[in-house]
């Protein structure tokens, strides 16, 4: 049976496929169809056939749709004259003119706006430069993604201890065993080496011994010489351009000889381009790895972790699995080495052996970790400073918002008139965004100029070497653009939303007063501004306190008038003679020595054993090899027992002195530990004394258990106590003693003091940067406050006049105007204090020895902010209070 309604429905869906044919038009066509059908059915009767004829008479939907489309295009064409293009509003020029006139008429406000934005932007740009530099570390290697440092986690009673040194022979072995490793490169320091070139003699601390593959894996190009052959000849040396100039001046160094430690003649085989500053791998000279063997080191020994091993992978994605393979390989190696010792093997199988992992070269600078989870990488600073940059920028944006809305009163009528003339809300918003963009643009130009001019100063402050070219790098320019757009958008948001919401009728009726009245929002903004500034100031204060704390913390020994001398080359063998010569001087009361730099003893090991030790509990203990008189020379106090004495034959290499931390780990009291048998690093003997804890590394490192044994033969650094008398004279005598014993070596020494101070320089730098940014933040906030105060004083001119006429004193007027701001700033303290507290606490977390968070600092910062704010405001208030009321009221 033919269903007409169903057929019509289907027919309609045919037409709906064309978007131009709207429902109303389909209704027209449907009526036509139905009329046609009625007409036809009289002749041909009802049915599908008739319906089809009726439908056919209407024609092809596609063709008709085309006709409708023509109509629509005509309609769109006709609308064009009323639709200005979106990209260039017809009133653009008018907006620009208005903004320009406003700026010219109110130069003061314009200056404050532009200056605070410029200062904020400049600050943010500097931080961006710094951050970029931090992020750029080690990215310059062509193979960077495929390069990794082999690191390991050692498990023990105190937790995982993370180190990035490996045994000497590991590199070549894992390269053979693991096919994913394209190249393994051994990389070793060589200590401080005396380098002689004819008459020129210098001590070099940055000579590295590396495998030949170092040059192909890393991008350290040679400017002279052949990279392929370099480092293969045992007696070859590569030097940097700087070194070439230092030793050879303008001569050609190739083929010339440098003598290391008065013993090894090395031929200069190539000149390395000076390495980029943003490199974690630093060196001045490279020697073949085998040089270490020549220098008397057993480079086949697996026993301890000493050198860095780099690997270049065939596929960087395999890093995790290669780490596991190294772990498996090393574990098997340990089992294999113990196969003749069933008990040791069983013990090794029971415990967790070191787990190896690969650290990407490109993450090294930011994310490196050492020891029991100490973060050495700078990622935290990068994050903190990025946040600070945004905060400073935000403070600057708030200035703009505040001043723009405060001055909204002056713009209300303009907005009203524009709206009456047909401007939509969006048009007004666009206008004010445009103004903010104009201001930001001008500020940006000023900021960029500032950054260009102050770059050298910033480099000194931050310890960076950022080249001028960095200001024109794409990444920096993109950051610049982003900062500008962000600033313009944030700064323009509130004024444009506020002003575009004004209602013309209300504006004209109430006059200027109704508009621009948003004291609550403005109050909040000023509070936020000061809150952020105070937070920064408090945080900066904490950083300084911590640095001060570290600098003045009692180290457990007397670091004043204490020096050490590096015994280079074969001078170590004459240590005893040197000591004797020194002690002849009345100005030198004590001399001792250590095997490592005495201000940074890093050797440690897991194998310690003692009477009554739980065999399951493995602990990591530091190892100092020293001469007799070690505690006496340093001034380390004893907690129990005695120090080493020559009278006891076993004291040399057969007895221990440990610190309190070790005793604590043993679960004993100091006096009970004395006399207990102790076994560590192949030595077995009694504990003869317990020292109080002393810092044998900088204070930012945790104090760990330490053991001392006497081994005069291992001494590589002489530690010399200078007496009470004249330091300069004492040093002369030290030098004389040196010259008498080591005539072929130049004399150099280091104060303990300087070493420790040096180790805090990183934090000092951070403190300095922070100080500047806090000053910036406060300055910008005050600039804004100044503008706001000026404006409010102006607005209340009549009120002040009337008050004065009625007998108010100048003081009362000043108080009236200052009071309000004081309230905001006090409120800001309430917000800032907790924020600063938590920020400081989390920053201090990383220091094992840290200052408390002192309350007075908070009060001080708050009071200072209040004082600065009041000073800023009262100038304006004073001006307003001094004004002759007659002037204010006259024109009424």
């Amino acid at each position: 049976m033919f269903d007409l309604e169903k057929a019509v429905k289907e027919w309609k869906s045919q037409w709906r496929r064309h978007d131009v044919i709207e429902e109303g038009l389909i209704a027209d066509l449907e009526l036509q169809l139905r009329d046609n059908y009625e007409e036809l059915k009289v002749e041909s009767g009802e049915g599908e056939e008739t319906f089809r004829t009726a439908a056919a008479r209407l024609g092809d939907p596609a063709k008709i749709a085309a006709e409708y489309r023509k109509n629509r295009n005509v309609a769109l064409d006709r609308r064009r004259p009323w639709r200005p293009s979106r990209f260039l509003p017809a009133l653009g020029l008018s907006y620009f003119k208005t903004a320009w006139r406003k700026m010219k008429r109110q130069k003061g406000y314009a200056f404050i706006n532009i200056a605070s934005l410029a200062v904020g932007l400049a600050g943010a740009l500097f931080i961006w430069l710094w951050v970029q530099d931090e992020l750029s570390f080690d990215k310059f290697h062509a193979n960077a993604p495929a390069l990794f440092r082999v690191e390991q986690d050692q498990a023990g009673g105190q937790g995982n201890f993370h180190v990035y040194v490996t045994p000497y022979p590991m590199g070549p072995s894992i390269q053979t065993a693991i096919p994913e490793i394209k190249a393994a490169i051994r990389f070793s320091r060589t200590g401080s080496v005396l380098v002689r070139c004819g008459e020129k003699v210098f001590t070099e601390n940055r000579i590295r011994a590396v495998d030949p593959a170092f040059l192909s894996a890393f991008s350290f190009p040679l400017v002279r010489g052949n990279a392929a052959g370099a480092l293969r000849d045992l007696r070859s040396i590569l030097i940097s351009e700087d070194m070439a100039t230092k030793y050879f001046g303008s001569e050609d160094p190739l083929g010339k000889t440098l003598v290391l430690n008065n013993a090894f003649s090395m031929s200069v085989a190539g000149i390395l381009k000076n390495g980029p500053v943003n490199s974690s791998i630093e060196f001045d000279m490279l020697v073949p790895f085998e040089y270490l063997r020549e220098a008397g080191i057993d480079i086949t020994a697996w026993g301890s972790n000493v050198i860095v091993t780099w690997v270049q992978l065939n596929d960087s994605a395999a890093a995790a699995s290669v780490g596991n393979k190294i772990t498996a390989y090393m574990t098997e190696r340990i089992y294999d080495s113990l196969r003749n010792d069933a008990q040791a093997l069983a013990e090794a199988r029971r415990r967790r052996l070191p787990q190896y992992m690969l650290m990407p070269l490109t993450d090294l600078h930011l994310k490196a970790v050492f020891g029991f989870g100490q973060v050495i990488g700078t990622i935290q600073s990068v994050k903190s400073f990025s946040v600070i940059a945004l905060l400073v920028l935000l403070i600057a944006c708030i200035n703009f918002m505040n001043l723009a809305t405060a001055r909204a009163a002056g713009r209300a009528k303009e907005v009203g008139l524009r709206k009456v003339s047909g401007a939509l809300r969006n048009d007004i918003a666009a206008q004010f965004y445009g103004e903010s963009a104009l201001t930001t643009g001008l500020a940006l130009a000023a900021a960029f100029l500032t950054v260009v001019l102050l770059r050298p100063a910033f480099n000194i402050l931050s310890g960076k070497q950022i080249p001028l070219a960095a200001l024109f790098s794409p990444a920096f320019l993109i950051g610049l653009l982003a900062a500008t757009i962000l600033t313009a958008a944030v700064a323009g948001s509130y004024p444009s939303l506020l002003l575009s919401s004004l209602r013309p009728a209300a504006v004209f009726r109430a006059g200027a007063k109704a508009a621009g009245r948003s004291p609550l929002m403005r109050r909040i903004l000023v509070t936020v501004q000061f809150g952020l500034s105070i937070t920064l100031v408090v945080f900066m204060g904490i950083v300084y306190r911590q640095i001060d704390f570290m600098r003045t913390k009692a180290l457990g020994f007397d670091k004043e008038k204490l020096i050490y001398v590096n015994l280079q080359g074969d001078t170590a063998s004459r240590y005893a003679a040197f000591k004797q010569a020194l002690l002849r001087s009345p100005l030198i009361p004590a001399v001792s020595g250590t095997s490592q730099i005495p201000t940074n003893i890093s050797a440690n090991g897991w194998g310690a054993n003692w009477e009554g030790k739980d065999p399951q509990n493995r602990v990591l203990i530091g190892a100092t090899q020293a001469d007799f008189d070690y505690p006496e020379t340093l001034g380390i106090e004893m907690a129990a027992g005695r120090t080493f004495r020559r009278e006891f034959a076993t004291d040399e290499g057969g007895a221990f002195m440990v610190n309190e931390e070790t005793v604590r780990l043993m679960g004993l009291k100091p006096q009970d530990a004395v006399g207990k048998m102790f076994e560590f690093q192949g030595i077995r003997g009694p504990i003869v004394g317990v020292t109080k804890n002393y810092h044998y590394t900088p204070v930012q490192n945790p104090l760990e258990p330490m053991s001392v044994v006497v081994r005069p033969g291992a001494v590589a650094f002489a530690v010399i106590r200078l007496g009470k008398g004249d330091t300069a004279e004492a040093l002369k005598q030290v030098e004389a003693a040196w010259r008498s014993v080591n005539p072929k070596y130049p004399f150099s020494f280091t104060f303990f003091d300087d070493d420790y101070a040096q180790s805090y320089s990183r934090f000092e730098r951070m403190g300095k940067l922070l100080r500047w940014f806090s000053v910036l933040a406060v300055f910008i906030a005050c600039l804004g406050l100044f503008g706001l105060a000026a404006f409010l004083a102006e607005q209340r001119r009549k009120e002040i006049g009337i008050r004065k006429v009625l007998g108010a004193s100048e003081g009362q007027v000043i108080r009236l105007l200052s009071q309000e701001f004081a309230k905001w700033v006090l409120l800001a303290n309430l917000i800032a204090w907790p924020a600063a507290y938590f920020a400081s606490r989390s920053w201090l977390q990383k220091f094992p020895y840290r200052t408390g968070i002192p309350l007075d600092l908070f009060v001080l910062a708050g009071a200072a902010a209040l004082a600065i704010a009041l000073l800023t405001v009262s100038g304006q208030a004073w001006k307003a209070a001094r004004r002759n009321p007659g002037e204010a009221l006259r024109y009424e």
């Binding site: 038009l25 027209d28 009526l31 036509q32 008479r57 063709k63 008709i64 006709e67 005509v74 309609a75």
Partner: protein, 112 residues
Amino acid sequence: MISKQLMAASTRPIILAILSRSEDYGYRIIQKVKSVSGGTLEWTDGMLYPVLQRMEMDGLIASQWKAADGSRPRRYFRITASGQSALEAELTGWRSVWQALTVFSEPAAARA
């Protein structure tokens, strides 16, 4: 049959002319054209509607939905003042064309 071009040119004046007599709706406009021309003016029914829309956009005609009692609601078109004057202009034009055609299609001798 008449040419497509002539169809296109004449559609608007014919519609205007029809509507100048009385308001009407789409189906009936088509019916009227057919009955008068005896089938020589054959429009595709659907094509009328875009033309009506365009004429309405141009302000020559106006439309309104109306429902005569009992029957379906329909959209009635009526001529506007500007449609009226457009019709006058069209008629003047068509008359001159017609005149010219008449003159030139008469036998030459009769003219002389």
